[in-house]
């Protein structure tokens, strides 16, 4: 199977899926990219994994992008088929106000921790995830730091001060005019 065929075959099966043009001039050996509606993502992934013509058995990576101006989160899934030796990138957009999407960890076990990372840093919820907890930051961390509108809350490891001490206000935010909160 040639790389170019992947998207065409996928669109034949799922008409909702659309091809994203890749600027070949700037990317060496570009992988085909497809835009998938978030409602269809799980179904498409299940098909890509199980269908013998595709058999995308290796989930390379998944991540997210914050498009603050458009009010969207873009989820990016990088897949690879070890059988056909082709790659594929799926993109899906969810609203920033209620960011949630179906988990694909039931299709690929390897996506479990990847989704937890995205949940941790972007705050996107994955429906049907077996263990959706923070993976890198600790429980009770204020906010999701890779969001573009994230505001850092100074804590005692930044300032050496406990919250409620001089230099921090009631919310634990640094008092204005003092860059370090100390």
């Amino acid at each position: 199977m040639y790389t170019i065929d992947v998207i065409e075959k996928l669109i034949q099966r799922f008409p909702e899926v659309s091809k994203i043009p890749v600027p070949e001039k700037f990317v060496r050996d570009p992988e085909p990219q497809a835009n998938v509606p978030p409602q269809k993502l799980l179904e498409v992934c299940r098909f890509l994994k199980s269908d013998a013509a595709f058999s995308f058995d290796f989930p390379t990576h998944m991540t997210a992008v914050d498009h603050l101006k458009d009010g969207l989160f873009e989820l990016v899934y990088a897949l690879y088929s070890t059988q056909h030796r082709v790659g594929l990138i799926l993109k899906s957009h969810v609203s920033r106000t209620s960011p949630e999407i179906d988990s694909v960890s039931s299709v690929w076990k390897g996506m479990d921790w990847q989704e937890r990372e995205v949940f941790d840093l972007f705050g996107i919820r994955f429906n049907g995830h077996p263990n959706l907890k923070r993976i890198m930051l600790w429980e009770g961390y204020p906010g999701h730091p890779l969001r573009k509108d994230y505001v850092h809350v100074t804590d005692k490891y930044d300032s050496g001060l406990e919250i409620g001490t001089p230099g921090l206000d009631e919310q634990g935010l640094p008092v204005k005019g003092d860059g370090h909160g100390a």
């Binding site: 930051l137 490891y157 930044d158 050496g160």
Partner: protein, 194 residues
């Protein structure tokens, strides 16, 4: 009793209720033993730990200074903070420090553990380990070379010399030499014969 020891500050007098307490050169011995066997905890955090490992290895050979890593904080005198302290790790370091028996010392190795270093603006990095535990020696560098760590160990040895009841006694008293010992012995003989 005034003796040559007094002038050399080998004999220290402390006034206590009902008399005087006299301390002799056991302090020197203890200090000497303590500073000659600084046992750090086997503990590395980031790339500074690679330099620390190089310092333990044969080229720099910290063993000759009596510095070799111990596997448990219960046996360690020194905690080398070798690398970036993330906020998730900071409570664990605090626990390790609390598990160490006193006297305990801390070397902050490199820019990250001194102040956060290149990760100063990060949401997850502690802006200096001294926000969490007290630090004795800071080493600049990113990462510091093994020689720098060696210098820190020497500095710590000097500090241990002055550590005990600092203020009560002269900062760094002179050490007994052969001449001094001869003087002491002569004084003792004179006192016997008198």
């Amino acid at each position: 009793m005034k003796s040559a020891l007094d002038s050399l500050q080998l004999l220290r007098r402390h006034k206590v209720v009902g008399g005087e307490l006299v301390l002799t050169s056991v302090d020197f011995f203890v200090d000497w033993a303590r500073k000659s066997s600084i046992w750090p905890l086997t503990f590395g955090l980031a790339c500074c730990a690679i330099e620390m490992m190089a310092a333990y290895a044969s080229r720099y050979d910290f063993d000759r200074l009596g510095v070799f890593p111990r596997p448990t904080p219960r046996q360690a005198d020194l905690l080398i903070i070798s690398g970036t302290v993330v906020k998730k790790m900071a409570p664990a370091i605090e626990t390790l420090y609390n598990q160490m028996p006193e006297p305990r010392f801390v070397i902050s190795m490199g820019a990250c553990s001194n102040c956060g270093g290149p990760y100063y603006d990060s949401y997850s990095v502690c802006k200096g380990i001294d926000k969490v535990i007290p630090v004795d020696i800071y080493i600049p560098g990113c990462p510091p070379r093994p020689e720098a760590l060696q210098t820190a160990v020497f500095a710590l040895q000097k500090k241990i010399d002055r550590y005990w009841d600092a203020g009560k006694r002269v900062a760094n008293p002179s050490k007994p030499t052969n001449e001094v010992l001869k003087e002491i012995n002569v004084a003792a003989l004179k006192a016997r014969d008198a």
